[in-house]
Symmetry: C2
Subunit: 331 residues, 2 copies
C-alpha cells in the first residue's frame, strides 16, 4: 500500500467496483468469478490491454478511457457474432492516482458495461510502477459452432464494412491539435464528431447475429482498414481488391479529404475505427446489406476477395497501391 | 513498433506464442479464442496482474516470472475446486526487451502450461511504456453448482491449510540477500528450498476435487495466512481462532524460526504461499485429511471458525495476538 491514507485493495474494490458486479461476480467477495455457460452455446474470449501514452493520451477523460477499454473488447465479440456475457478487469494504478479520477473511470466503466450489456465478473487491482494501464478480458456467447472466423474468406466473397471508415484517425489528429489546414477548416460540429468517434467507439454489437447468418469471415477494424484487411486475407490464404471510391466516409471525413486528398491514406491506415470488416458470399450479399441497413449499421461493399497471397490492392482514379505497412501498430 | 528491426505484434505472436496455443486458441490466427464449455459444468474465472518491481524482482529468471504469473491463477482455480480449461495473456514489454529474455519467458510459460494442463487460448501484446507486466485470465471447469466459495465458512468449521506456510516469504528474504543471522545460518539446501518456493509456487490442483467433496469454504493463500484468513472470515461474517503451534512448517522454516522466533510473524503474514486455506465441517474432517494425505498434499488443522466479526485470534505459548495489517499488500 502506498500510504496509510490510501484504501487497501479490498476497500478499493468494495467502494469503487463491487456496485458494477454482475451476478457471476459474486459481489466481488470471492477470489474468483462464476459463469454458467448458456446451454448449446460456445464461449468467445478476447483480451486487450491499453496503456497510458500508448493507446490513449494520459489526459483523455477518465470516462472515455474506461469506455474505450471495454468497447474494444466488445467490438471483438461483435465481429465474432457473439453476445457479451461479462468481463474481467486488471487495473494498474500509478502512484499519483486520485479518487476523483478513479470515480470518473468507474462511472465510465459502469455506463459502458450497461450500454453493452456486459457485467463486471471479477478483477485485480495492482500498483503499476509506471503508467496507468488496463487489461480487459471479455467473454461472449455464440450458438455452438457459430463463431464467425477471421480465417475463412474465399476468393469471390465480397468485402464489406459497416459504418464509416477513418473518423477516429482524423479525430485523433484533431484531438492532438493537428495544424493540417484541412482539419483546422472543419466546422466545430465536424471536429466534435470526429473526436467523439476517437474517444467513444461504438462497437457494432447490433450486427452480431447478421454476421453469423450472412458472413463467411469477419473481424473488427481496430488497426486500420488496410492493415486489418491484409491480416484477414493472409490468415485466409487470399488477397483482395478494394475500390477506394466505395470506402464509406462520414460527411466530416469527406469534407477533410476534399480539402486535402492526401488524408485518404490516414483514413485507410489509421486505427480505432471499431467497425466490422467481413467477407460475404455473393448469394448472401443482398440479405446482409438489407439487414444491416435495417439494424441502423449499414454495410457497404468496398471490394472482392481474390486468389493469391499478396497484399490487398487499393484502386482509385489516381492509380493503384498496396499499403505495405498499413496497420497502425500499437506495439 | 519500436524499431524496424523489431518483429511486429503478429510476427511476435506467431514466433513466440502460437506454438503454445491450445485447440481453442485457433493457432492465435483469429482475433478471439473459442471455448466449448463442458456439459454440466460451470466456468470459474480468475485474473491476476503482476508487475516488475511490485510482484517480482526485475532480475528474477524470466522462466520463473512466467511460471509464477500462471501459477497464481491456477492456484485460484484449485481453491475453487476447478480444473483448468485455458488462459489468456496480456504481455506488456518495456522498450528494452530482448529476444533471449522473451524466449526464456515463453519456455517457462510453455512448461507451466503443460504442467498445469492449461493451454494458451489467446492474448494481446502491447508496449508497456514502463515496467514489464503481465495479466493472465484463467478459466476452469467445475461441475455445475460445485464451485467452492470463500464466503461460506461457519462457526465450528475446522480451519485447514495444505502443505507448509511461510516458505516463500522466507525464501524472498533469502533471495533479496537478507542479513538476518537465522537465515544466513541455514544450509545451502534449505536456502535453495525456500527460494524455490518463492520463485516456483506449486498450486495445489491435486486437491481441487477433495475441496469440492469436503470443504465448506476455501481460498488460496497468496497474501499471507493471517490476512487471507481475516478476509475469508470477514466475507463469511465470522472470526477464527488459530493455534500457532499447529501451523505446518517446513524443516527449513523450522530451522530459521528456532534461531530467530520473531520470524514467525513473517511466516504468518508473508505472501506467496499458494497453499489452500479451507473451512471443513467436523464430520468431514477425517475424510479430508485422509484424502489430501493420500494425494500428497497433506492438510493440517490449525484452528476453528468462531462466531463474531473480529480479526482472527492467533494463540501461542507466548500469548495471543491479532494481525491487524496481516495481509501482504501487493497494492
Amino acid at each position: 500500500m502506498n500510504s496509510a491514507s490510501r484504501p487497501s485493495e479490498d476497500e478499493l474494490i468494495a467502494r469503487f467496483f463491487a456496485p458494477l458486479a454482475g451476478e457471476g461476480g459474486l459481489a466481488l467477495k470471492d477470489d474468483a468469478a462464476l459463469l454458467r455457460p448458456r446451454d448449446g452455446h460456445d464461449l468467445v474470449l478476447t483480451v486487450d490491454g491499453v496503456v497510458a501514452g500508448v493507446h490513449f493520451l494520459p489526459d483523455d477523460p477518465a470516462a472515455a478511457i474506461a469506455h474505450k477499454a471495454l468497447a474494444v473488447n466488445i467490438s471483438d465479440l461483435a465481429a465474432k457474432g457473439a453476445e457479451p456475457a461479462g468481463f474481467l478487469l486488471t487495473l494498474a494504478l500509478p502512484d499519483g492516482w486520485t479518487e476523483p479520477w478513479l470515480e470518473a473511470f468507474r462511472d465510465g466503466l459502469a455506463d459502458a458495461s450497461r450500454v453493452f450489456g456486459c457485467p463486471l465478473l471479477g478483477g485485480d487491482t495492482v500498483r503499476s510502477a509506471g503508467a496507468f494501464w488496463i487489461s480487459i478480458t471479455a467473454l461472449g456467447h455464440v450458438p455452438s459452432g457459430g463463431m464467425v472466423r477471421r480465417t475463412s474468406a474465399l476468393p469471390g466473397h465480397r468485402i464489406c464494412v459497416t459504418g464509416t471508415i477513418g473518423d477516429a484517425a482524423l479525430g485523433l489528429a484533431v484531438h492532438r491539435g493537428s495544424t493540417d489546414p484541412a482539419l483546422s477548416a472543419l466546422s466545430p460540429d465536424d471536429k466534435r464528431y470526429l473526436v467523439e468517434r476517437y474517444l467513444y467507439p461504438r462497437p457494432r454489437l447490433v450486427v452480431a447475429e447478421a454476421l453469423r447468418t450472412y458472413a463467411a469471415a469477419a473481424m473488427d477494424i481496430s488497426d486500420g482498414l488496410a492493415g486489418d484487411l491484409a491480416k484477414m486475407m493472409r490468415v485466409s490464404g487470399a488477397s483482395a481488391e478494394v475500390d477506394m471510391a466505395r470506402i464509406p466516409l462520414s460527411p466530416a471525413a469527406s469534407a477533410a479529404i476534399a480539402k486535402n486528398p492526401a488524408l485518404v491514406d490516414l483514413v485507410v491506415t489509421g486505427g480505432d475505427d471499431y467497425e466490422i470488416l467481413c467477407a460475404v458470399p455473393e448469394d448472401r450479399l443482398a440479405g446482409f446489406l438489407a439487414e444491416t441497413s435495417a439494424l441502423g449499421a449499414p454495410a457497404t461493399v468496398i471490394g472482392t476477395v481474390t486468389a493469391g497471397e499478396g497484399l490487398p490492392l487499393f484502386r482509385s482514379a489516381a492509380g493503384e497501391r498496396r499499403y505495405a505497412h498499413g496497420a497502425y501498430q500499437h506495439f
